[in-house]
């Protein structure tokens, strides 16, 4: 089922002196079953773009096709709840949306809103809390007592418990320590591989794009200017310079080796693998 944008524009506060066109004709077709990174500089329209995916924002012009729904400009769509159950959107700093007395209640909030019965919701919620790495001793505690990173995990569990087909994350690891971001990113990979969820991640971290994402969508000045596989993306030196992106260290190392005539396999994506690959080349000589 498609997840596509056709000539979508979006204007904030239209017909006022404060009008601002955030999207200027977006055309993009996200690939189902993959992890796609959405990148672009601050203010390029990434957040506006992803908020169209569960119809929090409705296009000013053009149309958005999400799974089995088509959202057109100038038509008031009904039954948005059905769509929002299929598209889970995790906002930037989602820890601010916690409000219930206990963690388990907060995670259950989503599923219960979508009509899941109490018992199933609790089972589902507990499973998701364990999945994000919050152990059962926390279940009955207040979400407001947790540390920032733990709150983030609970908030993400709250969306996962809704069991969406498409998971959209707006800078999910911003402000987390490297260890926590790594385990978070690995969780998304697991959700993609094991549960076949389509995942879109807005991020600024090129290392994460390289290590965890299959495809890259580049947003610039309200338009999608590129949609390619991660591999092709990091080979496009001209595009990277144009976007002022410093490629991850590993890419730079591989390029430096290549310029000296040492070819490293494309699938080598981590420092450990690179070390092994170099060792292999050296041993051969």
């Amino acid at each position: 089922m498609p997840i596509s944008f056709k000539e979508v524009t979006y204007t904030y506060s239209p017909n006022t002196p404060f009008a601002y066109e955030a999207l200027k004709g977006v055309n993009v077709d996200f690939t189902e079953g993959k992890i796609t990174a959405i990148i672009g500089s601050t203010g390029s329209g990434k957040t506006t773009l992803v908020q169209h995916l569960n119809a929090l924002l409705l296009p000013t012009n053009g149309e958005v096709e999400i799974l089995d729904r088509v959202i057109r400009a100038n038509s008031k769509p009904k039954e948005l709840k059905l769509l929002r159950q299929k598209v889970g959107l995790v906002f930037q700093f989602p820890e601010y949306q916690l409000f219930e007395e206990t963690i388990i209640k907060d995670v259950c909030f989503g599923p219960l809103n979508f009509g899941v019965d109490q018992k199933t919701a609790i089972i589902k919620s507990k499973a998701m809390l364990r999945l994000v790495g919050i152990d059962s001793s926390y279940d009955e505690r207040s979400p407001l007592e947790l540390s920032g990173g733990q709150k983030r995990k609970v908030a993400i569990a709250g969306i996962l418990a809704i069991d969406p087909q498409l998971l959209v994350l707006d800078e999910p690891v911003a402000g987390l320590d490297p260890q926590a971001s790594k385990s978070m990113m690995n969780l998304f990979v697991e959700l993609n591989k094991r549960y076949h969820k389509t995942i879109l991640i807005v991020t600024h971290n090129m290392e994460h794009v390289l290590t965890y994402c299959d495809e890259v969508v580049v947003v610039d000045a309200g338009k999608v200017i590129k949609h390619v596989s991660t591999k092709v993306f990091f080979e496009d030196d001209r595009l990277l310079t144009e976007l002022h992106i410093t490629p991850p260290a590993i890419i730079k190392a591989k390029q430096a080796l290549r310029s000296k005539g040492i070819l490293i396999d494309d699938n080598v994506l981590s420092i450990d693998e690179l070390a092994k690959a170099i060792a292999k080349v050296v041993n051969h000589e």
């Binding site: 506060s13 601010y96 916690l98 409000f99 809103n113």
Partner: protein, 266 residues
């Protein structure tokens, strides 16, 4: 929620915009006092004309004022209905469902209606043409004489400017939390009563939590930069009263005097 007109500053460079905020606040207060002088319709006509001239000089549209009036409409209508039913002066005009409506009540209600509209109109001209920060500077200066009577003028001004500063932030925050909860299946438009209460709760609790957090952060940031409320402070922006300011103040005083004369003579 982005369309709140009440109290919004509209940038411009008219004479009204450039008036000294202290003078502007004083003028507004004098005009508000003038509204309450009982002069009948002639007095209101005078103030309306003055207000409309100010409105056109400031290049504000009538539709903007109407927008600002909208949130007050409910309160005004309630006030008028109660007034019309309760006041019993003059002779009975008509009787509806056992309620007698007197002609005195009708007149009085009409007066109240005009007064309210004029008050909102005048305060809207003030807030629409004065930057919030200038407004608080003006308030601080005008409260200066009362410092002797232990009125914390600077603290009041600081509180007001912080409050004003955070209105857009809070609106933004509310919208963000609304969207986040909508993603979790909250429906503020539809749903049963109990669900609606839950929906509002899911909005208010996070908003409270983050407001307190913001307040704490701000207090810490201010203390870290050595803020002491009652310390002697200098200002980056100095206010200067010019001749035009004085002229306008005199003009407003004349209107007030005219109103008083009218009230005595008529």
């Amino acid at each position: 929620m982005n369309n709140i007109a009440l109290g919004r500053y509209i940038p411009g460079d008219s004479i009204i915009h450039k008036l000294d905020p202290r003078i502007k606040i004083s003028c507004m207060l004098l005009l508000l006092i003038a509204i309450f002088i009982p002069t009948g319709f002639y007095g209101y006509l005078l103030i309306s004309i003055v207000a409309l001239i100010a409105l056109s000089i400031a290049k504000l549209s009538i539709s903007f004022v109407l927008k600002a009036l909208r949130p007050m409409m409910f309160m005004m209508i309630m006030l008028m209905v109660i007034n019309i039913l309760v006041v019993k002066t003059g002779s009975v005009l008509i009787e509806i469902y056992g309620f007698q409506i007197y002609d005195g009540a009708v007149f009085q209600t009409l007066y109240i209606f005009i007064r309210l509209i004029l008050m909102i109109l005048i305060t809207t001209i003030l807030t629409a043409t004065t930057k919030p920060l200038d407004l608080t500077l003006g308030i601080e200066d005008l409260l200066e004489p009362f410092v002797r009577f232990k009125v914390p003028a600077h603290e009041i001004a600081m509180m007001i400017s912080i409050a004003i500063r955070f209105i857009p932030t809070l609106i933004e925050e509310t919208q963000r939390i609304m969207k986040a909860q909508a993603s979790r299946g909250v429906d503020l438009q539809e749903g049963k009563f109990k669900e609606k209460i839950m929906a509002i709760l899911s909005l208010i609790v996070p908003l409270f939590v983050s407001s307190f957090q913001r307040a704490e952060d701000l207090a810490n940031a201010m203390e870290a930069r050595g803020y002491v409320p009652d310390a002697k402070r200098t200002r980056y922006k100095q206010l200067h009263v010019r001749t035009s300011d004085i002229l306008i103040l005199v003009l407003v005083f004349m209107i007030l005097a005219g109103m008083i004369v009218m009230a005595i003579l008529l």
